[in-house]
């Protein structure tokens, strides 16, 4: 009875896995088929080759066209730059701010904490129009800084670090460091940062992912194509090359592969970081 139940569970899990993997398989196959063979089968084109597949109807030309015709590497670099810069900036700002809110007594602490808590419930879409006008007034429209700065101080980031700092950093350790004559900056980097490491890793990854996948904000701020990240570029591509399925799918594959690989490599730390924060916090 228990055995039968387990078998049914495996069958159900396998079926669900296949359904979830089908769009990925479709994407990979579509990016490799020649335009002529595109509709011969939903996946790989059937033929006389090994495994009944027409291997000669597969091509890497969509990927080479991304480079030679569209200079898509520019967009890839833009996305890398946006995501890496934001994840460092936001993590540093949030870690320092959260540490200060958790571990120091100072005038204004209660007010600042209340502002952060209040901001947690404000949806980002409310800020679209006013921040756009502010960027116009500051002359930051269509600049890298205009995309990055408004995203660099997320309320939930400082909130997470405040929770993590108050639960994982013992006051005695900070006091010992001060008695030993360490300066505040040295204490932060030598004691606080190592103790916050799981949260720092997880938060950097979350920031990186959310910037990589962010569409509406760079779409609103940027006007010149040379500055577009992948998300905005692919939306343009879909308009202009809507019938060029192979090219479109190759571009999509190139856009999502880096984050999938990054996550697969780091997922252990990522999940460990999140759960440790949840359990202790």
């Amino acid at each position: 009875m228990a055995r039968l139940r387990l078998v049914i569970t495996y069958v159900a899990l396998a079926a669900c896995s296949i359904i979830i993997l089908i769009p990925f398989a479709y994407l990979v196959c579509a990016s490799l088929k020649t335009s002529a063979a595109f509709f011969s089968s939903p996946f790989l084109p059937p033929g006389d080759g090994w495994f009944g597949i027409a291997w000669d109807q597969l091509t890497l030309s969509h990927f080479t066209r991304l480079h030679s015709e569209l200079h898509f590497e520019r967009q890839l670099l833009n996305s890398l730059f946006f995501s890496a810069t934001l994840s460092v900036l936001a993590t540093l700002a949030c870690a320092m701010g959260g540490y200060a809110l958790a571990k120091f007594h100072f005038r204004g602490r209660v007010t600042l904490t209340a502002l952060v808590l209040g901001m947690l419930v404000v949806p980002g879409t409310l800020l679209l129009a006013p921040t756009y006008r502010l960027l116009y007034q500051l002359g930051l429209l269509d600049t890298y800084a205009g995309v990055l700065l408004p995203l660099a101080a997320p309320a939930f980031g400082v909130f997470l670090f405040r929770q993590a700092a108050s639960s994982t950093i013992p006051d005695a350790l900070l006091e010992a460091a001060r008695l030993d004559g360490a300066g505040e900056i040295r204490t932060f980097f030598a004691i606080v940062v190592p103790l916050l490491r799981p949260m720092i890793g997880a938060f950097m990854l979350i920031s990186f992912l959310s910037m990589w996948n962010n569409f509406i904000w760079p779409q609103v701020v940027l006007q010149s194509g040379a500055k577009y990240p992948l998300s905005v570029a692919i939306a343009q591509l879909k308009n202009v090359y809507s019938q060029d399925y192979g090219l479109l799918m190759a571009a999509t594959l190139v856009s999502i592969l880096p984050v999938l690989l990054l996550f697969l490599t780091l997922q252990r730390d990522f999940i460990a970081g999140l759960t440790s924060g949840a359990v202790k916090g």
Binding site: I20, A93, F104, R109, L149, D171
Partner: protein
Amino acid sequence: MNAVPPRSRWAPYAFCAPFFAIFLLFGVYPIIQSAVLATQQTYGPKASRFVGLANFKDLLADPLFWRALWNTTVFAAGSIFIQLPCSLGLALLLNQPKLRGRAFFRLIFFAPSLVGLVFVAVIFSLIFEKRTGLLNVLLHGAFGCDPEFPWLESYVMPALIIAALWMYAGFNMVYFLAALQAVERDLVEAAVVDGANAWQRFVHVTLPAIRPVGAFVVLLSLVGSFQLFELPYLLLNATGGPDNQGLTLVMYLYQMGFETGDLGYASTIGWVIAVLLGTFAAVQWRLSRD
């Protein structure tokens, strides 16, 4: 705290400065500005004129706004009543004792949520194509369904719900699974001893135990649903689709603010979204307290 005081009384301010400088300028100030904007009509970011509460009055009489609110609500309902039960089902499957490969399956189910909404939209724009799209080809092959089924012409909302289901079912599953793993084995075993069958155990032991996490996941889904933008925007080529079937609140906000150029009207829509989500959060908070 602070039996030994910091070496400089300025230290906490220095640590706070980078975050709060940006936070006050690009977080708090825009909120105040969005209230100001809601009383204005603008022509792009340059010119504006004061209109008082006319934006709110216009909005209430605007059939497109009601259409967008209705569409968004339908999508949210789909997320909660179709997607979340699927998430819970996946979590229950993965929570079976003696299951091998749990981490592997969890990774597969979670993977779609790492793909950004824009990229999901591009993939699904091909999947939902009328004659050649993968979904119609598969449904026709397996069940003999109509291969010309017009997903993006007449069934926009179901299409959006399907795409979101693929993307987020595994994401929400992670929360349910964590909650299920925290349900005490003793409690379940006691129920077995008392002669409760599997269904009774599920309804009377498991469900109450995961209720707080369930309420949190419902709130997350509502927050996500009411900010839906990328999927319809790309699947329907930057329009609301035929008869505005796919127009959502944020899409309408985007069209008014950045295509028409009326940042004031856009801010007014933004306030409606904020008030709705604030209400949901307050209700969730009240419910989770008792």
